[in-house]
């Protein structure tokens, strides 16, 4: 469940959320312009449709998955909370202080730890 949730959420840090949104907008606007220009040159609407669909797929590929370049400003303010929550169980192998990214901090967080300390 944890891995599914991590996969579905795919958090990226704040600065790179701005980058993701800008990238998405720029790519889609360029796609629209290129699709219309090529369609108008060849006088065929099919070019517009195919280039638009392909451009959208490319944009989704570039923006949706959490690529490594969306990890340039990792947020590490949650590590202290994580240490407090996890003192009850001893299963935090390899987690200490130090610069860790927000992605990694959240990836080990699961609801079970907080609710029922079994």
């Amino acid at each position: 469940m944890g891995t599914i949730q991590r996969f579905v959420d795919s958090f990226i840090d704040f600065e790179d959320q701005k980058l993701a949104e800008q990238l998405c907008n720029i790519l889609l606007i360029l796609m629209g312009l290129i699709a219309y220009a090529i369609g108008f040159t060849f006088q065929d609407l099919r070019y517009i449709v195919y280039i638009s669909l392909g451009g959208t797929a490319l944009t989704m590929l570039a923006v949706v998955p959490p690529w490594p370049f969306f990890n340039k400003h990792p947020v590490s303010c949650f590590l202290l909370e994580q240490r407090r929550w996890r003192t009850k169980s001893n299963s935090d192998a390899g987690h200490g202080l130090g610069r860790k990214s927000w992605v990694q901090a959240f990836s080990n967080f699961s609801f079970k730890d907080n609710v029922n300390a079994d």
Partner: protein, 204 residues
């Protein structure tokens, strides 16, 4: 943009916005393609027969059956945004006596779907009208009638637009003059077959 679902939603939402604007630009680009269609019609054979609407009814109706020649060139209406052109021929006739706007009747005689510019060059000889014309009162009363050739341009994206070509009583096409080619566009509806003329014609 904090999770996958949000990024997918935002990207797709912006795509639909861009698609709307591209479609609007495509629809606007039709202004760059002015069209000049032309048509000429010659009526061959005009018949009025009486019949019944269906087998068991007692109402007797007059039906107008026409044969005509049609030469039309609608290929200039086709641009990259045109899906097809719907061309149709209507007959306009007035009721007995004065024909004003509220007593004029229009009936479609014949239509055709033209899916490409090649099909839009029409050359029909002695074509029979597809649809019979009948009046709601059952009688035509030998009114004057005229033909009008109309078309409807159906685009891929954008607004529909209509156009028509009419001719005056001498056969001069009103939208553009067809030199040397003067077809017969208007006629008087004859009496039904087997019946005497209801209106006495003035000494001709």
């Amino acid at each position: 943009m904090h999770s996958t679902a949000v990024r997918i939603q935002n990207a797709f939402g912006f795509f639909t916005t861009i698609a709307f604007f591209v479609a609007a630009l495509t629809a606007l680009s039709t202004i760059l393609y002015p069209a000049n269609p032309s048509a000429s019609i010659n009526l061959r054979n005009i018949k009025v027969r009486t019949g019944r609407p269906h087998y068991t009814s007692t109402k007797s109706q007059e039906y107008l059956l026409l044969n005509f020649d049609l030469d039309a060139d609608l290929s200039s209406l086709f641009n990259w945004n045109t899906k097809q052109v719907f061309a149709y021929l209507t007959v306009i006739y007035g009721s007995s006596g004065t024909a004003n706007k509220h007593t004029e009747n229009e009936m479609v005689l014949w239509d055709a779907i033209l899916p490409s510019a090649n099909a839009a060059k029409l050359h029909l000889v002695n074509e029979q009208a597809k649809y019979k014309v009948n009046d709601i009162s059952g009688k035509f009363l030998e009114s004057n009638a005229t033909l009008r050739f109309e078309w409807n341009v159906q685009p891929h994206v954008g607004a529909l637009c209509w156009g028509s070509i009419e001719a005056d009583s001498e056969g001069n096409v009103l939208s553009q003059a067809e030199k040397g080619k003067r077809g017969k566009w208007s006629f008087q509806i004859p009496p039904a077959w087997g019946k005497k003329p209801a209106t006495k014609k003035a000494a001709a």
